[in-house]
């Protein structure tokens, strides 16, 4: 059936130099702030939208509400003092900070973490990935008005947090992966309880699939929303599931294998339609992949061996001059630490490359044009951005 489609080229008029001719006093446009206090915004960030009718014609993102100056604070802390604060950089998924920081320091000071510690690190990273995706699935369904999914996924996330607590002793900030290795091995009976949790997650994912991905209304709203042209992937620095949903097989785990990923058997999850629905679907299948990886890790990992390499006295830990970049595949894309050491006991410069940095600012401002206001929240959540890693 042919439905009426409005002509979207009419407003606003483009000036010759490419900027938009938006005259707010003409009454055709409305300036609308979404956030920072807004339930449809992921975290603490705000969008300054200019809307015409029900459509967004211009958008400026405003970040910086969560800025704590980590990169500055780390310059005046010793290498081991930095370790407890790096995990605070990204709240929903702190372990990638710990791993990247630890690996960067190890590489510059020429330490090799023990093999068994690498296995446990991989385990923790995959557990963290499931946690993060669970937050995402709930948030995405919630942003389109389906609160029930969030209840289910947050419940199983709590179960996963229990496993974290058992392993590391903490719920959110684990501070477990420290430069040189990990703090402890697996507790007794961990594998069995982990398997129970994984089963629970699998059954929930089945429910989520039926209730969310087979739902006509969800499909109607998510399919076609926020289409990213594969040609935009590289110019905008898009990585992770967002890129994989566009058919670009970017997966750091496969491209630049780290930890024990070369010994694990997996294929990156791919999509092809590059819209919000495909991105959600890629992430859903990524959860299943992580479950599979955790099973592989628990089956293959060695059960004895050292957990910590010999590290220098932390009071006199001086890292020789040099610079390095360590990356890992977090649930949003490529997470990286650029560490510059100057030979003293304090890092010269630490720069955190969070995937949200490119997704939530430049890419979002581009995608949001001509989107209905009601879909802004859904679009933003579908990019899976966490503001704390933008402004750090």
């Amino acid at each position: 059936m042919a439905l009426y489609e409005p002509d979207r080229s009419q407003y606003p008029v483009k000036k010759p130099d490419g900027t938009l001719d938006i005259d707010l006093s003409s009454g055709k446009y409305l300036k609308l702030w979404q956030g920072p206090q807004h339930p449809g915004i992921t975290g603490n960030m705000s969008l300054e939208l200019t809307v015409c009718g029900d459509e967004v014609v211009d958008c400026q993102t405003h970040v910086g509400y969560l800025h704590r100056g980590f990169e500055k604070l780390m310059e005046r802390r010793t290498y081991i003092q930095c370790f407890p604060i790096v995990c605070r950089i990204c709240v929903p998924e702190p372990d990638f900070n710990e791993y990247c920081y630890a690996a960067a320091v190890e590489e510059l000071s020429g330490i090799k973490s023990p093999h068994r510690a690498d296995w446990i690190r991989t385990l923790i990273l995959e557990m963290g990935r499931i946690n993060s995706y669970m937050m995402y699935l709930g948030g995405h369904a919630g942003s389109l008005g389906m609160g029930v999914i969030g209840q289910w996924t947050t419940y199983v996330r709590d179960l996963m947090l229990d496993r974290f607590e058992e392993l590391t002793g903490a719920r959110i900030y684990h501070m477990f992966i420290l430069p040189g290795g990990v703090r402890d091995g697996l507790p007794d009976g961990f594998e069995k309880r982990m398997e129970e949790t994984l089963r629970e997650i699998e059954s929930t994912m089945k429910d989520v699939y039926e209730a969310m991905f087979c739902n006509a209304v969800f499909k109607k709203r998510a399919i076609g929303l926020g289409y990213i042209d594969p040609a935009l992937i590289d110019p905008y620095g898009v990585t992770g599931p967002t890129a994989r949903a566009a058919g670009v097989a970017k997966d750091v785990r496969k491209d630049f294998p780290y930890l024990v990923y070369p010994e694990l058997d997996f294929e990156p999850v791919m999509g092809k339609d590059s819209d919000a629905f495909t991105r959600a679907d890629v992430r859903r299948r990524d959860v299943l992949l992580s479950i599979d990886l955790i099973r592989q890790i628990l089956a293959k990992m060695p059960h004895d061996g050292p957990l910590m390499a010999k590290i220098p006295n932390v009071l006199h830990w001086k890292v020789p001059r040099g610079e390095t970049y360590i990356r890992a595949e977090c649930s949003r894309g490529e997470y990286g630490y650029y560490l510059v050491a100057d030979g003293s006991g304090y890092p010269r410069r630490v720069n955190v490359r969070g995937p949200s940095y490119t997704h939530a600012v430049a890419l979002l401002e581009r995608l949001i044009i001509n989107v209905n206001i009601a879909d802004v929240a859904g679009l933003m959540v579908s990019l899976h951005t966490y503001p704390p890693e933008i402004e750090r």
Partner: protein, 301 residues
């Protein structure tokens, strides 16, 4: 016709019963939604506490006269709707102020509250309210269309505009209900019900994520308490019409509670299992699915 003054206190008694029923039903429905999410949910008396708290707030600011009148209009829409249709068929006490042409009046009252709300929320000057209002009005218009068609179909079927007469015609066994004598009209009306109950998939007007809760953004303290009262009253009043027109009415209070509850459940179950439509999608949905059914029902009658 001689007006019977005794009807007024009786009508107020009905109002009292229905408001309490509405409060309890609202908490109960919140509890059901929580159970679907594997939660225990709010205590059953929570709505009473919320309303008491809102009346008990010390400050309340106003944005003008219409801002205050908005909730009042809305509440009077609900009260009016309830008072002019009979709650219990055959009972002198609870037949309220029904009269010969009350069906038309009821249709008017269904819309009245939303219009009042539009004026009030526009006065608050908040852009979210304005957006919520435009969405709300367009969606309610689209949603009421099939209902109006269904009502006309029923009125044609029974050749009367009095709700009491329509109920009377449906007495004497379940097969006399409009549900079975004119099923298409009932289907159209039930689809329309989804749109006007402000539950997913048609709650984009009040959606917390898409636009923080739309028209009531600026409402607080006693204004909000008035609206909560209305939120308890209005769905019930509306369901009373549905019950009377399509489901044979009620002859005593237990039947009344049961039928209203069951009709309400229809929108709740759809609500917990669907995300919400965008407003343009929901209007299209109504125009494509509900309106043709309504027209068909008129044609068949």
């Amino acid at each position: 016709m001689q007006f019977d003054w005794m009807k007024i206190p009786y009508a107020l008694l009905t109002l009292f019963i229905v408001i309490n029923f509405g409060y309890l039903l609202n908490s109960f429905i919140a509890k059901i939604a929580a159970r679907v999410g594997r939660r225990r949910g709010i205590p059953i008396w929570q709505t009473y506490i919320d309303v008491a708290k809102n009346y008990g707030l010390r400050t309340s600011i106003t944005h003008g006269v219409m801002f205050y009148l908005g909730p009042v209009f809305r509440l009077s829409g609900g009260v009016g709707l309830l008072l002019f249709v009979p709650s219990i068929y055959g009972s002198y006490m609870f037949s309220n102020l029904s009269f010969a042409g009350d069906l038309i009046l009821a249709l008017y009252f269904v819309f009245f509250g939303t219009l009042g709300m539009a004026l009030g929320a526009a006065e608050s000057g908040h852009p979210y309210s304005a957006i919520g209002i435009t969405r709300g009005l367009s969606q309610v218009t689209a949603a009421e269309l099939p209902f109006a068609l269904a009502v006309f179909s029923v009125a044609l079927q029974y050749q009367t505009l009095s709700v009491t007469d329509i109920v009377a015609a449906q007495q004497g066994g379940i097969l006399h209900w409009t549900l079975f004598t004119n099923p298409l009209a009932v289907v159209a009306a039930m689809l329309s019900l989804l749109g006007s109950m402000m539950r997913p998939p048609f709650d984009v007007v009040l959606a917390p994520q898409e636009i923080p809760i739309g028209p009531p953004t600026e409402y607080h303290s006693s204004y909000l308490a008035l609206m909560q009262t209305n939120r308890a009253l209005f769905p019930i009043a509306k369901l009373v019409i549905y019950m009377n027109l399509f489901f044979g009415g009620a002859t005593d209070w237990p039947t009344f509670f049961l039928k209203v509850f069951l009709i309400y459940m229809w929108s709740v179950f759809v609500g917990v299992s669907f995300p919400r439509f965008r407003v343009d999608q929901s209007i299209r949905w109504f125009l494509i699915w509900a309106v043709p059914i309504g027209i068909l029902s008129i044609v068949l009658v």
